[in-house]
Amino acid sequence: MAANTRDIRRRIKSVKNTSQITKAMQMVAAAKMRKAQSAALAGRPYAALLNRVLQSVAVRSQDGGHPLLEARDVAKHLVVVVSTDKGLCGALNTNLLREAAKFDPAKTVFVAVGRRAMQWLVRNQRTVLADFQLKDSMSFLDARMVSRFAMEKFLTGEVDKVSVLFTDFINTLRQVPKEKVVLPISSLAVTVGVEGSIDDAVVDVKDGGLEYIFEPSQGEVLDAVLPHYVHFEVYQMILDSRASEHSARMVAMKSATDNAKQLIKDLTLEYNKIRQASITTELLEITTAQMALG
């Protein structure tokens, strides 16, 4: 009897400790989430406008006018998998890596961003070209290392298509794994207007009424815009993944804390029941003894 109550007490204590830890992690994730979310959302008007600028440049240039625009037959596909470094964020990485498993291992090479992706790729014996570890406070520059690497592989012809597998941030409760093709930039029409907050007064380029003048020259502007566009796209996708990660972790930790609280409640109830039972038995024993004596 006494041993049992002591066991329960010990369990309550340990569950309480766990809940304190998950509560702390929830707080940290919430703070990081707010930061990551605002970073991800702040870049959207820029992305939308960049999209528009690029579209108007690309429409004017003939197809295949630039190596980054050139669509080739896909013999090798490069997939950049953006995962988290740490676990404890619900089903986020599981969902992401399930998508990663769908690519044909013979035709696909991978670049890992984040420790979880790397571990999974190695365990499943996929070809990994590079592994990037990005800091928690990632700058545009850090993200550029990733996109620069992918762009080099594409330009040298080692791969014919580059896409990024990331977790799209929809809202705090919903994050969806998504694959987006970044190279070649022929799939422009698809991405344009997706995040369009600036869609007013779009110049009708098809009318031929408006001819852009480029300075210094169209080629030079295109040369500058296209790589910048790719860098920014990748950066934005990594930011989205970050926002998703922290949101998912906060939600996971919140439910862990809630579960721990529920468990403590159940255990306390159990404990009190046993305690009450033992008191009742003791009382009964005393009364019986007294009656026997009396």
Binding site: Y46, L49, V53, S56, F140, R148, L210, E215
Partner: protein, 137 residues
């Protein structure tokens, strides 16, 4: 009078959005003024001073590298920095310049990093220049 819709966006968000009468841009080929009904135009900009005229008022902004799209009714500026003259903190910028110069002097940076430091130095210098000119001029 005809106006231009000016939008300035940076990766951190929308920095400026208003109907204005004239914009002066620091284009790579030199400063250019844009009035309404300008011919459609696209160019790169370098770190420098962007001037906005609106209803007799003049607004000065320091901008970084980026692109500009001009149509007859719109000017869209994509820059990696855009900061109003009023918002420039001279002390903080000077400290940033100092740090960047020291980092470049150490020469232990990779090419990517030093390019970034140089870019941020250029941005800081532009801010300082603008602030000082406004103060004395």
């Amino acid at each position: 009078m005809a106006t231009l819709r000016l939008e300035i966006v940076t990766p951190e968000g929308r920095a400026y959005s208003d109907d204005v009468e004239m914009v002066v841009l620091p284009a790579v080929e030199g400063e250019m003024g844009v009035l309404p009904m300008h011919v459609p135009f696209m160019t790169q900009i370098k770190p420098g001073e962007l001037v906005v005229r609106k209803g007799g008022d003049t607004l000065h902004l320091a901008v970084g590298d980026g692109f500009v799209e001009v149509t007859q009714t719109q000017v869209n500026v994509l820059a990696d920095m855009a900061i109003e003259e009023k918002a420039i903190d001279e002390g903080a910028v000077e400290a940033a310049v100092q740090r960047a110069r020291e980092a470049l002097a150490r020469k232990d940076l990779g090419s990517e990093e030093s390019a970034a430091v140089e870019a941020s130095l250029a941005r800081s210098l532009v801010q300082l220049q603008l602030k000082r000119r406004r103060k004395h001029g």
